[in-house]
């Protein structure tokens, strides 16, 4: 489908414009790094939203395709000697395959059981990565375990500017792709499956196949973000497979507004830049993410976007009178209320 309504408005363009201008106004390497990481995490949060928001499959193991792609990049470049572009492409395909596997396993399950299954799969991968040193590189160095596995990159020290703009370009392209997918015919069916699986099935929808599709697509984008992250830090580590990372993505989506793709991106950027920019220790950041999630779920269960929609609906008091747009949505891509 051709609806990309949020990209029609001026807000996203203004936001991207500001981000394009930012390095020129404040060329501080620390903040450039914070933003670069933020762009990759934002793409990861949007990929969680494809699975957990659009199609309603709450996953707590979304770090698995992210980390799998990061490790694949590291192993393929450092151990197998593959050229970087080929390694990245293979890593994304691997992440999609991991997603298809998770989707196949979780398809017969619903609700909390999907969360528990994905949590278990993610933790198995994380523990395997932390506890095992699988490979030995040249010179007797141990690879794997806590230290992770380094990537062999065709450059020595990437310019922070270049990294910043490459990550921003990736975020824009990935978000656009995920938004298009969520607004496509398949995205509509996934939203139906999320809303009422039994009605979707009674409408002829093979729901297991569509759940698998959601995991595959979401994981492919998560893998692309994971590969990008590994390129940025030059190493794949067990943290890339951690529950903390999956939890962060779910928090970004819940705070921004599930099922919207763009809102989790904005929430990820704001929260990451805020918490990371303040140079808080990791334990304090986790606590703040948890508190943010608790406050959101208690007081704003629809996230920022859902709350704003409800407020706008109450203020306007024009329910059901909104003029039609494509697919029954108004110009902002919302269902008319």
């Amino acid at each position: 489908m051709r609806n990309a309504a949020p990209f029609r408005g001026g807000w996203p363009a203004a936001g991207i414009g500001l981000l394009l201008f930012f390095p020129l106004s404040s060329p501080d390497a620390f903040f450039l790094d914070v933003f670069t990481t933020g762009f990759l995490l934002a793409a990861f949060a949007a990929s969680w939203d494809v699975v957990g928001g659009v199609s309603g499959q709450i996953t707590l193991g979304h770090a698995l395709p992210f980390g799998a792609a990061a490790y694949a990049c590291a192993l393929l470049t450092s151990l197998a000697g593959w050229p970087l572009p080929l390694a990245v492409a293979a890593a994304i395909v691997l992440a999609a395959a991991v997603g298809a596997g998770i989707g196949t396993l979780s398809a017969p399950l619903a609700g909390p059981f999907v969360a528990l299954l994905t949590l278990a799969l993610g933790e198995i991968a994380h523990e395997a990565a932390v506890g095992n040193t699988f490979f030995s590189g040249p010179g007797g160095y141990a690879w794997g375990g806590e230290g992770g596995i380094p990537l062999t990159l065709p450059w020595r020290d990437a310019s922070p500017f270049l990294s910043y703009y490459a990550a921003l370009a990736f975020l824009c392209l990935a978000s656009f792709g995920m938004l298009r997918f969520s607004r496509s015919g398949a995205g509509l069916i996934l939203r139906a499956v999320a809303g009422s699986p039994i009605t979707a099935q009674a409408s002829g929808i093979p729901i297991a196949r569509f759940k698998r599709l959601a995991f595959t697509v979401g994981s492919a984008f998560a893998g692309a973000a994971g590969a990008g992250f590994a390129l940025h830090v030059g190493r794949a580590t067990a943290t890339d497979l951690s529950l903390e990372l999956s939890f962060q993505a779910a928090t970004f989506a819940a705070v921004g507004g599930r099922g919207t793709i763009v809102a989790p991106v904005v929430a990820a950027l704001v929260l990451h830049v805020l918490f990371q920019g303040l140079s808080l220790p990791p334990s304090a950041r986790i606590l703040l993410y948890a508190l943010t999630l608790l406050v959101t779920l208690r007081f704003f269960p629809g996230g920022v976007v859902g709350t704003a929609r409800d407020l706008a609906s109450r203020i306007a008091g024009r329910e059901g009178a909104r003029p039609p747009g494509r697919h029954g949505r108004n110009r902002n891509g919302e269902v008319a209320r």
Partner: protein, 228 residues
């Protein structure tokens, strides 16, 4: 008689409770059939087995000459068996138009004729107009009245151009106007498109007015069959 749907020896138990015992029945192409019975007689269980929501413990279900006993709900819909639910389960975040488009999405050829706006007289627009939902096409399903939800159920069921409609208590708790509208819709589908239906209801006058044959279910068995 030529049979569209036939069930032979259907049995179903939940734990130690026997719900259905050796049910055999059939529906001919274009035939309007009623299913009547007291609460707890097994009507919904039988409907769930015929539509693919439940699998029978014993017996077989055939449709259009094919054995479909193990086919799930979605596959039977694509074959041409559409069902409605006694309690509708709407998509909370989707509009009426989107809900109908989901049902139409299973048939790619139907979708290609349609620009998706529901305003071109294509399948979506036709279906919405037919079921009286056109003016509410942008309303979220979660905000529909009971009558409109039943219309939406009907629109969803008709989207696959079914050969057989299985309607579970679709007329319960409706206003007189909504009941009259849905009755007219059902008659039109049966008369104009030759759609057979199996209508489950507690309302004998309604069944007599709509059906040619009424099956009476009691304690998991068909105890009577009455021609109207």
């Amino acid at each position: 008689m030529n049979e569209l749907l036939s069930a032979e020896g259907i049995g179903k138990s939940f734990g130690t409770t026997r719900i259905l015992s050796g049910i055999s029945m059939s529906v001919a192409p274009g035939e309007p059939v009623g299913l009547f019975g007291p609460n707890g007689s097994g009507k919904t269980t039988l409907v769930n087995i015929l539509s693919g929501l439940l699998l029978p413990d014993t017996g077989t279900v055939r449709f259009d000459g094919k054995e479909i006993s193990r086919l799930p709900l979605d596959a039977r819909y694509r074959l041409g068996i559409a069902r409605t639910f006694q309690i509708p389960h709407p998509y909370p975040a989707l509009s009426v138009l989107e809900a109908v488009r989901v049902a139409l999405a299973v048939n790619a050829s139907k979708r290609k004729e349609d620009d998706g706006t529901g305003e071109d007289g294509g399948p979506t627009g036709d279906l919405l107009a037919r079921t009286g939902l056109f003016n509410q096409r942008f309303v979220p399903c979660a905000r529909l009245s009971q009558g409109c939800l039943r219309r939406l159920e009907f629109a969803r069921a008709l989207a696959c151009r079914p050969k057989l409609l299985i309607l579970d208590e679709i007329f319960s708790a409706l206003s007189a106007a909504d009941e009259a509208d849905l009755t007219a819709l059902l008659r039109a589908a049966n008369r104009d498109e030759g759609t057979a239906f199996l209508l489950v209801s507690h309302n004998p006058p309604l069944l007599k007015s709509l059906c040619r044959r009424i099956l009476v279910l009691e304690e998991g068995r068909i105890v009577r069959e009455r021609k109207v």
